[in-house]
Symmetry: C2
Subunit: 368 residues, 2 copies
């Protein structure tokens, strides 16, 4: 079996023990609050990684693309929520999924959107924090109008869904917990509007990794969606949703040169291998394009990828001091700002179990 | 054949007439200066697009990964420069390419790097603008030491290569032309050091799309590398290397909703479909995640993608005014900040010839 000393670089390294621990932690927390999880599979896009997270159960999942729905249906997952506003051009593919046995739930946030879908259970997207799509919970007339349009069009107004994406910008755990309350309160208020208007609307779907992690009360919530927690990343570390040592994903890179007068180490992982995500740029600690670790995953003090060209990464001390001597050929592991974005640049995970041995290769897919 | 009105979104649209015109313009310019082009294939990563750019000739090419070398060798391109600092872990794959008939040239910028390669023609990377890797042209002892190490190790010290990536940050055409002079002067000075020391060093390889476009004199240069000019993008428009209407690549997206009180139009192309590249953020005009055009490719005044989640784009007027009414289902085309990065998020180009009809589908590859 290959080891991290001889794999072709750049490539992804995934520590499966960390994935399992991250999954157990969130499952235990949600279990105590009495809310089942509907895992978001958009981060890993890998049946093997998903099987690990779900202990082999074919539990309900969330997808961000119809390709994810198609691929995961092929792997035996039938209860699928497509959690992006639906539009009629996608109807034929959605119908093909249903014809193959998927229990596919769709999402809309307008009467106009509802007009384009027929024959599916549909959730109404609720905007609880102003960061993206959705109807405000206070807009009762709009909520009822969408539910009526859905039913008139042969759909079931199955409930509500919200995503507190604003939680990614929180400065403290207390702030995340407050956003989690707001997310739940808004979703429950909105579904109650539908129920009072006579729609059964059984589903109250909420979630984001930060709010799922720090929710204190999920009364009235029927499912919690979260995705990035399976791998975690520096953005999540930056808002105290995980520790840096919980990050299961890294990019393996090789030192290819130096510019010693500038304190630079050049590696063969650049913007293509890390993605161009700079999600920590606006956080308290800007991690550049990623935190640099040794081949065993131990962070090298002060060392980050400060800049990136397409296939070159520039590694330097954050404080401008001289970096340690890392000769050409040295293997490094770079922790990502945003796991979803970095993983999407690659076609496979090289799986390790704490050590350097690659114990498995898990394929992942991309595209739509 | 599909049209832009019915393709699944998000997807890439490539206008082949614009690609051909971009290719002809640079070829004519370099022809006048007497320097042949060594096309960089890292932007398109597509044999069909490359065949269009090169009029079907199997001319010398430049690659940024060994996978590009392998794929393009499969398509009949034999003269290949791998223009990233070489490191010994990649030697077996390089040797396999040579065994299959590739005339593969490698690159190093240190004695340490030279020690890891044997049996290839190798260029020495020269740093003419301080932006990345390479030996300074003035560092004569280092240049000769690397050439000697190469020859001692069974390689040919074949010449020099430099990339004036600093030209991407220029404020004016005059500044780019000055950087082009500096790029040529540095490369020629460095190769003369080698030649005076007794190495034939026939190759002087320079290039970047901006410097190739505005070079005024290429005496002493034996080849010019350029890549992004085949598609062009908003970063290149922002430094006056192309007009916005020369951009051949766009992401086709569909309107999925609105937040009218905020002036937002939501589309189904987000950070995954556009990439997270924000290369215009530091330019005179920040184009967000891209300039929004109608389905026929005409820019809609003032409209840009101001923010992006994984599969959601937020489109709004740059000045905060109310956007035009674009109903759910409207098709839009978004011009990319950085064509290499946006193209890499997709698996195919849907090719048009000015109109809405998709006249061909060209596969592209990713990964290493």
């Amino acid at each position: 079996m290959a080891t991290l000393d001889d794999l072709d670089t750049p490539c992804l390294v995934l520590d499966r023990g960390k994935v399992a621990a991250n999954a157990a932690r969130l499952r235990n927390h949600l279990g105590k609050l009495g809310a089942p999880m509907r895992l978001h599979v958009k981060t890993a896009k890998s049946p093997e990684a998903t099987a690990l997270v779900l202990d082999g159960r074919k539990d309900p999942i969330t997808v961000s693309t119809l390709k994810e729905a198609e691929q995961f249906l092929d792997s035996g997952y039938r209860d699928i929520l497509y959690a992006v506003g639906f539009e009629r051009h996608k109807l034929a593919r959605a119908q093909a999924l249903a014809a193959r046995g998927a229990k596919l739930t769709l999402l809309v946030d307008s009467v106009e959107g509802a007009a384009g879908v027929t024959g599916f259970p549909v959730l109404i997207e609720i905007d609880t924090d102003g960061h993206r799509a959705g109807v405000k919970p206070s807009d009762k007339a709009q909520l009822v109008a969408i539910a009526r349009a859905l039913e008139a069009n042969g759909c079931t107004a199955a409930g509500v869904m919200t995503h507190a994406g604003g939680s990614y910008n929180c400065a403290s755990v207390d702030e995340i917990a407050a956003i989690a309350d707001q997310e739940r309160d808004g979703a429950v208020a909105a579904v109650n509007v539908l129920r009072r208007a006579g729609f059964p609307a059984p589903v109250v779907s909420i979630g984001s990794t930060p709010t799922a992690t720090y929710a204190r009360n999920l009364d009235g919530v029927t499912e919690v969606r979260a995705g990035v927690f399976v791998f975690f990343d520096l953005v999540m570390t930056g808002i105290n949703v995980c520790r840096q040592e919980d990050i299961a994903l890294s990019t393996l890179a090789t030192v290819i040169g130096h510019q010693r007068d500038r304190g630079w180490i050049l590696v063969d992982a650049g913007g293509m291998a890390m993605s161009r995500d700079r999600g920590t740029a606006k956080q308290r600690v800007d991690q550049g394009y990623g935190v640099v670790c040794d081949v065993d995953g131990r962070a090298i003090p002060g060392l980050v990828m400060t800049d990136a060209n397409q296939e070159h990464g520039i590694v330097a001390r954050r404080d401008g001091a001289a970096p340690p001597d890392l000769p050409v050929g040295t293997r490094l592991r770079i922790l990502p700002n945003h796991a979803c974005a970095t993983a999407a640049q690659h076609e496979a995970y090289h799986v390790v179990d704490g050590g350097r041995e690659a114990v498995a290769t898990w394929r992942r897919f991309s595209g739509w």
